[in-house]
């Protein structure tokens, strides 16, 4: 393809070239169409069908023609517009539109998002006309906030310290199983029953186990940290991936302890600081003089996860401004320079792993109390990949970016379930839910092409002398393990 930039080609020559450029565009699109035909011919052109109980071959020439036609037309359109040699390249200097927009609305975004998050259940209930009707939305809100929290937790490890962790779900699992096992444990229940009354453990288990789950997950973060201290980059990613799988496999196979693949059911529900959400006179509704509604518990859970997520964000923001947080970021930037300045990088890495894991553990504990049931099925690699995608998409190290990415990814995934209108376009045989992941993948690729450093690609300095200037993402390193 003849590349001719606007600077080098005089405008007279450009006009003369216009005809050949169009011809070239057609030729290129035709070749692309041929390649598409070759590729899609076997893929789309044929289909297996059942004829009289035997497998036969069907043909779909019209669908093939449509697909090849789309590719030909699309290529032609791109050749004539964006890839056109006559197109004057736009020289961009300084921050992009997004960066400037980010600076302009930056101060408003955080309070606005926070206010929305804090009032979301009430907005949902008001607009949908009642608590029971808004159950789906509030559940979705809880799911999104769980992933926001997990994203913020992993952000410490990946975004700040630059350690690529593909096994973050392990800590989520540790937190969930810590709560599930402790809350359903008969000896623990018996111990507290003798000490503080029969219902004490059922009512308080969550609030006591929450910090325990966090600490336990943090401990496991350190245990994972030790063997991977010397690893970097790809090697670190593989070992953390393995660690995530090991935890899951142990949960499946250690049947005596964890219940194996069947999981642990009837885990005590969350209580309003010891007051259960039940219909009887000791319940939450009676205590506050409300009419009993099972949604009280769901709304309460929403606020619990919101509070947990905000604690995560608050702690991360605080830690970033402390020496330990600066050391995490310095580690991401240059490990050798860190060591030359007397920073014990072993401790820095372990503290990053442990802190990130701790928040994962809190989230896991919340997951167990919300679902009332845990099984190893909930802690597959998909979850790790999803959390990592949220962090990368949000912009590594950015709080708001991660929150928005979590909302987009989890909310978007759910929204894509409602693709019924596509049936009207493609006919009733078309099952839109099959294309959910495809659309989702396209969206991710598009965002990464467009904003390769994530939604928020600038870094906020932790301290300033005269003026707070955002650091461009081009200068910030991704870390190397």
């Amino acid at each position: 393809m003849a590349v001719q930039t606007a600077e080098t080609a005089p405008s007279a020559a450009q006009a003369a070239d216009a005809g050949s450029a169009v011809a070239h565009a057609f030729k290129d699109a035709f070749v692309t169409g041929l390649i598409a035909l070759g590729l899609l011919g076997p893929l789309i052109g044929f289909e297996t069908i059942i004829i009289d109980g035997a497998l036969g071959l069907g043909y779909r020439p019209s669908l093939l023609a449509i697909m090849v036609g789309i590719i030909f037309a699309g290529r032609l359109l791109l050749n004539l517009t964006i890839w056109s040699p006559n197109r004057r390249p736009r020289t961009r200097t300084g921050p992009t539109v997004f960066d400037r927009a980010g600076v302009a609305v930056g101060p408003v975004v955080k309070p606005a998002l926070l206010a929305f998050a804090a009032t979301f259940p009430f907005i949902a209930s008001y607009t949908l006309g009642g608590w029971n009707e808004s159950r789906y939305l509030i559940d979705l809100g809880i799911l999104i906030l769980t992933y926001v929290m997990l994203g913020w937790g992993l952000n410490i490890v990946v975004g700040l310290a630059g350690l690529l962790d593909l096994g973050y779900v392990a800590f989520y699992a540790v937190g969930a199983y810590t709560y599930a096992l402790l809350a359903t444990s008969a000896p623990v229940n018996g111990f507290f029953a003798g000490l503080l009354g029969e219902t004490f453990w059922a009512n308080w288990a969550f609030w006591i186990c929450l910090p325990v789950a966090g600490l336990f997950a943090g401990l496991w973060g350190m245990i994972l940290g030790f063997p991977v201290l010397r690893l970097r980059g790809d090697y670190l990613a593989i070992v953390t991936l393995a660690f995530g799988e090991i935890i899951r496999l142990v949960l499946i196979n250690w049947v005596d302890f964890t219940g194996g693949g069947a999981g642990i059911a009837s885990i005590p529900r969350a209580t309003f600081f010891g007051v259960p959400f039940t219909r009887d006179e000791n319940g939450f509704a009676a205590l506050f003089g409300l009419e009993f509604n099972p949604m009280h518990r769901i709304v309460f859970l929403y606020f619990v996860i919101l509070a947990l997520a905000l604690i995560t964000a608050f702690a991360t923001v605080r830690l970033r401004k402390l020496p330990v947080g600066r050391a995490w970021e310095a580690l991401r930037e240059d490990e050798i320079a860190c060591r030359s300045l007397g920073i014990n990088t072993t401790n820095v890495k372990l503290s990053a792993f442990a802190t990130g894991a701790m928040f994962g553990g809190f989230a896991g504990c919340f997951f167990a109390v919300r679902a009332g049931f845990v099984s190893p099925e909930s802690f597959t690699f998909d979850v790790s990949a999803m959390i990592l995608a949220i962090v990368v998409l949000g912009g590594m190290g950015s709080q708001v970016g991660v929150a928005v990415a979590a909302a987009v990814m989890m909310g978007g995934m759910e929204m894509l379930r409602n693709l019924g209108f596509l049936k009207q376009v493609f006919g009733n045989d078309f099952d839109p839910s099959l294309y959910r992941m495809l659309i989702f993948g396209f969206a991710m690729v598009a965002i990464m092409v467009w904003k390769p450093r994530g939604l928020v690609s600038t870094r906020d300095p932790t301290i300033f002398l005269k003026e707070r200037k955002a650091v461009s993402g081009d200068l910030v390193k991704e870390g190397h393990g």
Binding site: L322, R326, L341, G342, V476
Partner: protein, 320 residues
Amino acid sequence: MATSPENGAHRWDVDPILSVEHLFMRFGGLIAVNDLSFKVGRGDITALIGPNGAGKTTVFNCITGFYKPSEGRLVLAHGRAPTPDEVAEVTRVGERALTGPQSGVYLLERMPDYAVSGQAKVARTFQNIRLFTGMTVLENLMVAQHNALMAASGFSIKGLLGLPGWASAQRAATEKATYWLEKVNLIDRADDPAGDLPYGAQRRLEIARAMCSDPILLCLDEPAAGLNPRESLELNTLLRAIRAEHGTSILLIEHDMSVVMEISDHVVVLDYGTKISDGTPEAVKNDPRVIAAYLGVDEDAVEEVEAAINADTHATGTSS
């Protein structure tokens, strides 16, 4: 300055801050540093020079703990020069260091890299600048004060809860950073990312960052590389000021002879991992081995000098 005229003894012999003793560094079959011994005087500016590949940076990496030497002892003395008995005692008991209220002996070859900087107070810069490019200039200097600030923040607990003490420690650290930024003339760029600075400024910032960790020995790996003559001159002034105002001893690797001859009190010349000359700049400049190995002479002279060297020592065969 380095020599006391009364007895003719060099300061590096009388009061060494660092003694490199029989240092060997082998990488498989390659001997990068071969039985190197030299001393760095307290308060001196010592230059380590030599042709490319002579092993200078390897020596640096051994001193600063990035490499474990294959053999040898690296004695760093805080306060005053230790007696041979003290050094022997530390060596024998297998400790990393023996510290008293006024003085301390550190065996650097036994310490990991971060402890060489954090405890023994040997700071270094790098040949290819290693700044935290995505962090601001000020943040770079704050990271350098990590250990002091970490203690002040109660290992993050006090800082996380916002208890008093942490804020004042942070303020003090910022003041120190400001002092060094003024010193290296970067105060106006304090809030800019370090990666945005021009090359010469990055070199100065790296020195300022090293100084923020309160070193008693500052090791500079080619600080003048890539600087123009004016910047080299500023560098000389800066290094002299560091030595004069902070009493920090300086050990530097340098190719720029205008810097080396101008500011150093003591020059050690390496070639093929061995020391070929050691003394004051004048003495080294006139040493025929140095001229042959490093500064360069015409063909006949090289042969002459090589013959002379081979005659009186079993010196290295110059395999060129």
